[in-house]
């Protein structure tokens, strides 16, 4: 369905992408994964002409993407951003069906479609259809943003770090939701993330990008078992689970931010944290100029939650 052919992108002197050759099949859940700045988002934005490649071509259903009418292309492509980007002035119903409105679909049909989609993400249309985005929680907003991308029944849905701003619990729920919707509706989904656990969980196939170059494409199993190079191997190291990571821990509610830097130790890694926390029941530490406080009970609760479920 999608074919990247020797795609490159230069921005002034900087090379953002180089020699990307990639096939994505119809109905596939395809994940582009890599550290931030690797060029994966640029690759995604080329699919709806938000960015134009400076080299090579991308084919969608055997036609060059740049030859499509921009508006038609975008109206038939779903798009979910990192923040929900719901229009604050519109009701949820109007938000969800904004593309249908552009297509000239009657109000009755739009209303029916909005109700159907709200039900699909377990939001009662009676209650939510007329609400404004400000009345929703972060998770609810992101659910609405997902179904908004499905309103025109697109064959292709693009998702750019769509769950990265959510806390781990909501993130997991949203992942379940999108897997479920993919099962039912079978659109082609191209999903960008920097989180390799998320990539492994969601992707039918995964493409690993690093510094503008494609490192490996394969199923989660292939990538885990036969990493193509050292970078991929480290990135997907099964010996070191994703939660064995200080930054990941700091996104959860277990450590608390404090202003008092007295007696705080400077930490570099998750392993440092474990060493320090063995000496005291309550640790004050500094990481990237911010001071936190964490108890050993807090750490145990974190490990139980993160490690226990998988």
């Amino acid at each position: 369905m999608i074919h990247y052919q020797d795609v490159g992108m230069k921005y002034g002197e900087n090379t953002i992408l180089e020699h990307i050759d990639l096939e994505i099949d119809a109905g596939e859940f395809f994940v582009l994964v890599g550290p931030s700045g690797s060029g994966k988002t640029t690759l995604l934005r080329m699919l709806n002409q938000l960015t134009l490649p400076t080299q090579g071509d991308i084919y969608l259903n055997n036609k060059k993407i740049k030859e499509y009418d921009k508006q038609k292309l975008r109206l038939n492509t779903g798009y979910v951003l990192q923040d929900s980007s719901l229009f604050p002035n519109l009701t949820l119903e109007d938000n969800i069906t904004i593309q249908l409105e552009q297509l000239g679909v009657t109000k009755e049909k739009r209303r029916a479609r909005a109700a159907e989609l709200l039900k699909a993400v377990e939001l009662d249309p009676e209650v939510f259809a007329k609400r404004k985005p400000a009345e929703l929680s972060g998770g609810q907003k992101q659910r609405v943003a997902i179904v908004r991308a499905l309103a025109t029944k697109p064959d292709l849905v693009l998702m750019d770090e769509s769950f990265s701003a959510l806390d781990p619990v909501l993130r997991r729920q949203s992942q379940d939701l999108i897997l479920d919707l993919h099962q039912k509706l079978k659109p082609t989904i191209v999903f960008v993330t920097h989180d390799m656990q998320e990539a492994l969980r969601l992707g039918d196939r995964i493409a690993v990008i690093h510094a503008g170059h494609l490192q490996q494409v394969g199923t989660p199993m292939q990538i885990m078992q036969y990493p193509a190079n050292e970078f991929v191997k480290d990135f997907f190291d099964p010996e070191c689970p994703h939660f064995w990571n200080l930054e990941y821990l700091l996104q959860t509610a277990y450590p608390t931010k404090i202003a008092d830097t007295k007696n705080a130790v400077e930490l570099e890694s998750f392993d440092d944290l474990l060493t320090q926390l063995q000496k005291t029941p309550e640790l004050r530490f500094t990481y990237q100029a911010q001071t936190y406080q964490l108890t050993y009970q807090g750490l145990l609760a974190y490990l139980a939650e993160q490690g226990g479920r998988r």
Binding site: K72, N76, L81, S85, I98, E101, Q102
Partner: protein, 450 residues
């Protein structure tokens, strides 16, 4: 207070009419300004260079003093409502444009990109995202403009557009605080009420749409009436204008009655209370005004170029003025009326009796005791104090130069004991003053007209 209430009840109709005129001028200007500023800001929102340039231009217009702008407009569009509306519109554009532009610029760029990524057309993006998000700021711009326009519209009276400014001007001229209060308080109240109303309307979008529909209907209705009026056969129309004050007012009404008597079908319109000679004369040249009374002295000093000294014989003065007006501007200067008006000096009755002063030649005796209040022109004109000084050997103890309108107030409150004035000023009687006789026949100024 009792007098204020009496004035209010006696002049009820006139006050309501002025209020109506004021509101109409303000609202028309505001609507036109909205129709210009909002689409302009919308079309320039993605062209930062032009958008910022627009802000600069609107800012510059804002700094032109309103009276200067009105004066500049007279040779282009004449007098009355049209130049007033144009000037007010120009002033109102700035806050509306600025707020609309800022409101559209402030829309979260993430949301704008999302709207693009969904494939929404430029119009849809504007309609569903940018405009609604900018609306609160746009409405506050309109409110600022409205308050400003209602305030500035008081100046429209200077060029014959009427409105509450007429009362303020009359109040200053006639030293009548009731008029000042009526004009001032009503225009302030009007601004306050309209601003509150706009805030109420801005609270939800339905009220905005209802108001817009109402305004559109109103506009269509007024337009229709105007078209109907212009299609009607027109009788002979004569426009008589006059400067601020009771004397021109009386003269204008006398003319009106005389013309209507001679030709009952004639339609005579009065445009009283013009702010200054220049405004009137420009309007006369433009043909917006057919007749207005003017002093022969003023014609020679301010309006025509000539190299001779102003003659002291009234007849010669008129002949010279008439010739020059006809030569330089192709205007006709009608024969002087059967009464004279000129500068005089007046003292209080008390002063007159105490020092036995009844004529100008008596003043030399009491030079040191005199504290004079003069208008700026009189104090330094050859046919004013400078000439009198020589003719009557005067040298007053103290001379204060002040606004013409304030002189009589000053003498009434005994701040000064001698003022200059016109022989026909009603204040002479009002404040019980004694006009000193020009026993050496020094000054003449004669009423004349076109």
């Amino acid at each position: 207070m009792a007098k204020l209430i009496e004035t209010l009840s006696v002049q009820r109709t006139e006050i309501l009419q002025a209020l109506g005129q004021h509101l109409a001028i303000s609202l028309i200007s505001l609507v036109i300004a909205i129709l210009i500023a909002v689409p302009l800001a919308i079309s320039l929102r993605d062209r930062p260079f032009l958008g910022e340039a627009g802000l600069q231009v609107a800012g510059i217009i804002q700094t032109i003093p309103s009276l200067a702008l009105l004066g500049l407009l007279i040779p282009l569009v004449g007098i009355g409502t049209v130049p007033a509306v144009i000037a007010l519109t120009l002033y109102a554009i700035m806050p509306i444009y600025q707020n609309t532009y800022a409101g559209l610029k402030n829309v979260d760029p993430n949301l704008k990109e999302a709207a693009q990524a969904f494939g929404l057309s430029r119009f849809k993006q504007l309609q569903r995202l940018e405009f609604p998000l900018a609306l609160p700021l746009i409405l506050s711009g309109i409110r600022i403009a409205l308050v400003m326009v209602i305030g500035t519209a008081t100046l429209a009276a200077f060029i014959g557009a009427g409105g509450l400014g007429s009362y303020i001007m009359l109040g200053i001229q006639q030293n009548n605080n009731d008029y000042l209060l009526i004009g001032g308080i009503l225009s302030a109240a009007l601004a306050f009420i309209c601003s509150g109303l706009l805030k109420f309307i801005g609270k939800n979008s339905r009220r905005i749409y209802v108001t817009l529909a109402f305004l559109a209907l109103l506009g269509a209705g007024v337009g229709g009436v105007k078209v109907y009026e212009t299609l009607q056969p027109k009788p002979v129309k004569v426009v008589i204008a006059g400067k601020l004050g009771s004397e021109p007012e009386i003269l204008m009404n006398m003319y009106k009655e005389l013309i209507e008597q001679a030709d009952p079908k004639a339609e005579v319109t009065l445009k009283p209370n013009f702010g200054g000679t220049t405004f009137l004369f420009k309007a006369l040249q433009k043909g917006q005004v057919d007749i207005y009374p003017e002093f022969t002295g003023t014609v020679l000093e301010a309006l025509v170029d000539h190299d001779k000294k102003t003659p002291s014989d009234p007849k010669e003065t008129y002949t010279l003025a008439q010739k020059q007006l006809s030569k330089q501007y192709d205007l006709r200067y009608l024969k002087p009326m059967a009464y004279q008006n000129g500068y005089d000096l007046a003292v209080t009755k008390e002063f007159s009796q105490k020092y036995n002063v009844t004529k100008l030649s008596d003043l030399a005796r009491v030079n040191a005791k005199i504290h004079a209040g003069f208008d700026p022109d009189f104090s330094n004109q050859e046919d004013g104090y400078l000439g009198l000084k020589q003719a009557y050997d005067l040298d007053f103890g103290k001379v204060s130069v002040m606004e013409p309108a304030l002189r009589y107030q000053a003498i009434a409150q005994k701040k000064v004991n001698l003022v200059d004035g016109y022989t026909t000023d009603p204040q002479v009687r009002q404040y019980d003053l004694v006009v000193l006789k020009d026993d050496k026949n020094f000054s003449h100024r004669i009423k004349g007209h076109h």
